[in-house]
Symmetry: C2
Subunit: 284 residues, 2 copies
């Protein structure tokens, strides 16, 4: 670990959100900090990027003594702009995103702008962590997250993060019960049971609000949902290779790869079977 | 397979795009079709959902004889609205998305609205396929895709799709060389080498256009990039469980799960190791 690691910070709630202020406060104790964050909330943006229109990037003085920029784009845009334009030849030792105002456990990772910033960094070959607080309340208290964010960050700097992954770290809501520890987990199988609230505007045209309830379909004690329900910080290493290897093997039985009547190509080798994952460690 | 399967169609290029017209033409030969698609292009939206404002949904007569709706939201919104509001008690036998105007191979799957519709369907437990044409040209020719889209769809209806996955199907650009066949693949390791084009607006404020070139870092002949480069249709089953299982195992060495000085909880069982994937098949 470098004595003074360079840490890039982003988020999806926007540069004025309380969660990123907490993250900046912790990270400046650990290293040199640069912030590139959206200039407005981007929750639910998933892994969106901005293609069809240009991006704005403006210096910000919001964090005293910290080099910071606000960007008109998405969290993934922020990481791209940070790496290729703001930092240029400076390679960050770690990218952290958050602290998200609300849970990104289980399938929420897919909708999460916070995690898209971390996963974008992982694609770039950078060690990355997304932090989220499992509290949707308007005046969510982030104070208890600081020691855990610092602990996980120092562990990541010391041990590295598996190559090709970004850590999805969720922290229980503040309560009278102390947090019992952190726990390495897999993503729980869960879904949102969606409903749509149909309303009518003043011109009598209908519109719909998405309302849903989260349903955990997974009873495993090795899941992030289990950990959070038992007052642990959950840590899930997330990969951006979506290939379902077991699914591939399954599909090799029965699926016909040629059109009806089309001969199979003879001069082309059959693809090697794909079975194992291959990870190294990204060590800062 | 039901004699007349119910097929839900969405996309990310919008309901007026040529790709979805091709998809509708093929699917009406196979089953009963319902379309719910964005009312404007949503490319690069990743797995975005609309939380902060309401959605509009309007009936469309764009496809003669087909029940169709245009939606103000993202591709993932369209699938949620289709399942929970438009179709309600009718369960689709298959969800297809596309045909995207441009490649969604390799890491592009993460930025892809087309695939987010398919993955959203997979989360809902529905068999789903995203189709893309590897041609970014303004007047891309979709005609050669029809027989392959039909073939893959009929295979999916006959054999099912591995549970918890959506198929990412990419089709080579039309050329004088015929397509050699389809190929089951893993997602290639690749990245976008990004650059930002700095310009100044008429008021002398700077802005940035994202420009990048795709770099394949993977020489495997079992990858989607290899298949497409050799004139095969690539098929990658994609999972929405992002857990990096090899990464989890790796992190169990060395990472400290308690704060400095904090005792480990005694009454809580250690999590089971997570090593294998567990798939069934979603059979229509």
């Amino acid at each position: 670990m470098p004595s003074k690691p360079l840490i890039l910070i982003s988020n999806d709630d926007g540069i004025t959100a309380p969660g990123i202020a907490t993250l900046v406060r912790v990270m400046r104790r650990i290293g040199e900090v640069v912030v590139v964050a959206p200039n407005s909330p981007q929750s639910g943006m998933g892994h969106a990027i901005t293609i069809g229109h240009p991006l704005r990037l403006d210096a910000s003085t919001i964090f005293e003594g910290i080099e910071a920029y606000e960007c008109s784009g998405t969290p993934a845009d922020c990481v791209k702009l940070a790496k290729h334009h703001v930092l240029k030849d400076r390679q960050p030792d770690l990218v952290v995103s958050g602290i998200n105002h609300g849970s990104n456990s289980s399938v929420n990772v897919l909708y999460s702008g916070t995690m898209s910033a971390a996963i974008e960094a992982a694609i770039e070959g950078l060690p990355a962590i997304g932090f989220s607080l499992c509290d949707y309340g308007h005046s969510a208290d982030f104070s208890h997250t600081e020691e855990w964010v610092e602990h996980v960050t120092r562990q990541a700097l010391e041990h590295g993060i598996p190559a090709g992954t970004a850590l999805n770290v969720n922290i229980p809501k503040k309560s009278d019960t102390p947090i019992l520890g952190a726990r390495l987990c897999r993503q729980a199988r869960a879904k949102w049971q969606e409903e749509f609230d149909l309303r009518h505007d003043p011109h009598q045209r209908p519109y719909y609000w998405l309302i849903g309830s989260f349903v955990n379909l997974d009873e495993g004690d090795e899941t992030d949902e289990w950990a959070l329900a038992h007052n642990f910080v959950s840590i899930v290493p997330c990969q951006f290779d979506l290939t379902a290897r077991a699914g591939l093997t399954q599909m090799r039985q029965g699926w016909e790869m040629q059109l009806p009547g089309q001969p199979a190509p003879t001069s082309i080798p059959a693809a090697h079977p794909v079975e194992s994952e291959d990870y190294g460690v990204v060590n800062p």
